[in-house]
Subunit: 426 residues, 2 copies
Amino acid sequence: MRIFLNPLREKWNEIIQRPQINNASLKKTVAEILYDVKQNGDGAIKKYSLQFDGVELSELKVGKEEIQEAVLTIDDELKSAIGLAKNNIEKFHLSQKEEISIVETSIGVSCWRKSVAIEKVGLYIPGGTAPLFSTLLMLGIPALIAGCKEIIVCTPADKNGKVNPVILYVAHLLELKNIYKIGGVQAIAAMAYGTETVSPVYKIFGPGNQYVTVAKQIISGEGIAIDMPAGPSEVAVYADASCNPSFVASDLLSQAEHGGDSHVLLVAASLEIVDNIKAEIDLQLLSLSRKVIIEKVLANSRLILIKNIDDAFELLNEYAPEHLIIASDNAELLSQQVINAGSVFLENYTPESAGDYASGTNHTLPTNGYAKAYSGISLDSFVKKITFQRLSKEGLKNIGNTVMSMAQAEGLDAHKNAISIRLKNL
Amino acid sequence: MRIFLNPLREKWNEIIQRPQINNASLKKTVAEILYDVKQNGDGAIKKYSLQFDGVELSELKVGKEEIQEAVLTIDDELKSAIGLAKNNIEKFHLSQKEEISIVETSIGVSCWRKSVAIEKVGLYIPGGTAPLFSTLLMLGIPALIAGCKEIIVCTPADKNGKVNPVILYVAHLLELKNIYKIGGVQAIAAMAYGTETVSPVYKIFGPGNQYVTVAKQIISGEGIAIDMPAGPSEVAVYADASCNPSFVASDLLSQAEHGGDSHVLLVAASLEIVDNIKAEIDLQLLSLSRKVIIEKVLANSRLILIKNIDDAFELLNEYAPEHLIIASDNAELLSQQVINAGSVFLENYTPESAGDYASGTNHTLPTNGYAKAYSGISLDSFVKKITFQRLSKEGLKNIGNTVMSMAQAEGLDAHKNAISIRLKNL
């Protein structure tokens, strides 16, 4: 852990710098796989599944039987946990539905927006070291609430050709039928371009490794929408004298276990808090299973002492963390200073892991400072908001001259003609 | 105009195909300019302004005097037109503000979203053949309503080093102070990376030519947000027996005057309607000033006869037009079939040009079929929606076991620890 005491403002940029990831070298490889799948469809996918995942697949689509088998293996405790999480995620995302509200901007000029589901969406769920069934909840639930007609899920099979059973259980619970055993770049290609088995979609969601990230970046440049640019997961914690140092330590550690490239940052209001949290980290680390990963992340973590609250939040806003925990009894007031963050966790009994799984907020959030311009996933991510307008004859009379003046000033006389020809008819 | 009568469904894809634009050949040139500005700042910008726009600039920032001079040149009629348009655009975008609504997903678990303005945004306003001051209204107004702190405007100067006075008048009206005489790829580079004069921003908005489009695409791959991918402007009209053929013709013509690459498509319910509209196009074209551009676009336009309403809207949804006019007394009912469109214009007295300037809806809309997954610009485009959550002790008791079960099933025991260490403390 690197400790900074009252760092000068000139040093901030360096301190909050994330580890630079250079994906450029992957681009050629990724582009080649994308192209191969675009040209050769299922055949190319099966080839890469064998090459990268060591599995020979006869069928890409997960069959009913495999789902039924998987459902049987899930114990009741986990089922009920998933049920509660689903319920909370549904409640919060349902609250994001927008009613149509008609605005009369001038008399006779009515304007409104209507949210219409993106018809075809693809959800990528990584396998690998942690099977992220929670991500399927976080993407599948808003897609269903939005009313997306075709929801396709791609997730890699293990060496035995099986998909993680909890992922299949969640798919079953959400009544998602189109689950494919496809991972990595091949999955992004299949959903972007379509194959004999997989229908192409209009927008692709979901996390992934660097190859998946680059693949999403490339297809996004080709006009297929993606959820957001991705980077390694991260947390920042603000802790003052009212924090509980062992709680804060547990939060920093939980972020650190995500992967070796995770980023962890603490801003504390006193040296005592820094010391106490550091001691707690050392203690709790001993009993954690992903110790090796965590130690790697901690080596690169930053504990920063900033006594002035405004300065502290200025630094945090400049960092723009994916997750921001405000470990303070005064969190609600302090949170008004938050400008850039993906999701914010207030007070001492709101660990990040609550939001990762079950509070109801979405855990697919902007990393790498993208929170300065991007929001996390919400119901909005699965709809287009189409605008509508209707002018009555009176409405056209009221704004017709305005449109004609402006069109003329922009040199667009056919635009003007579209008004004048109607006005003459009134 | 190419006419298709009751085309077979197998032919639809070919009929609705937009002219393919291959920007790949521009990438290298654009990337070099971006890199040069990134390295050499204002000096590089001035070099390219001379090279591409033929203007030698001493100052990049528009001074107060130039703005004051410009304001004096605008006549009262245009001022009042712009005033009315501003008012309507403000009303509609103000209605998009979201109140904070706290959702208690489980007892003691509170979640909410808060819209927070993107702090720094850049607006690109093209000059060239049509000085799009209306676009400055469409981008500047929601940026101001959102509360963006730094709003930067880049727009090219003419050969005399002057910015279009109406653009400056609108900037003055909106009290935008940071206007720079920078066009093309240089403008995108300046706003993305910053220079001695221009501060870098987090998100870049605005239309542009193919070079600007490619520049935005490249910087978007580098993590700077952009409004949306761009393509040439387009309109589709659905016309039935209750349409007024001369109105429809005027709408098709107004879209066609935008530029040689614009796209125009008509779906009509009878052959008589097709014939009448075609005759009206030929007639009205005679008196339009941008006749040459329009004729080029019309040569590539499609007039399609489809009698069945469901089929007609299926084709229109597959086309996913930027603008969709439903020229029918029955437009409201028909509009329920719209799944993919940027903005929709209902009935016979709602020309597209009303929405281009003054109805209140935004005219920055998804082209090129992107309406399948993208929305047009709205207040949402200028904010991040940050999620917040707060668990009381009771809240943690209510969902703690759920989080622990799920974390364990995903193999993340530090996540579980963050809960258990708190539960023990209750």
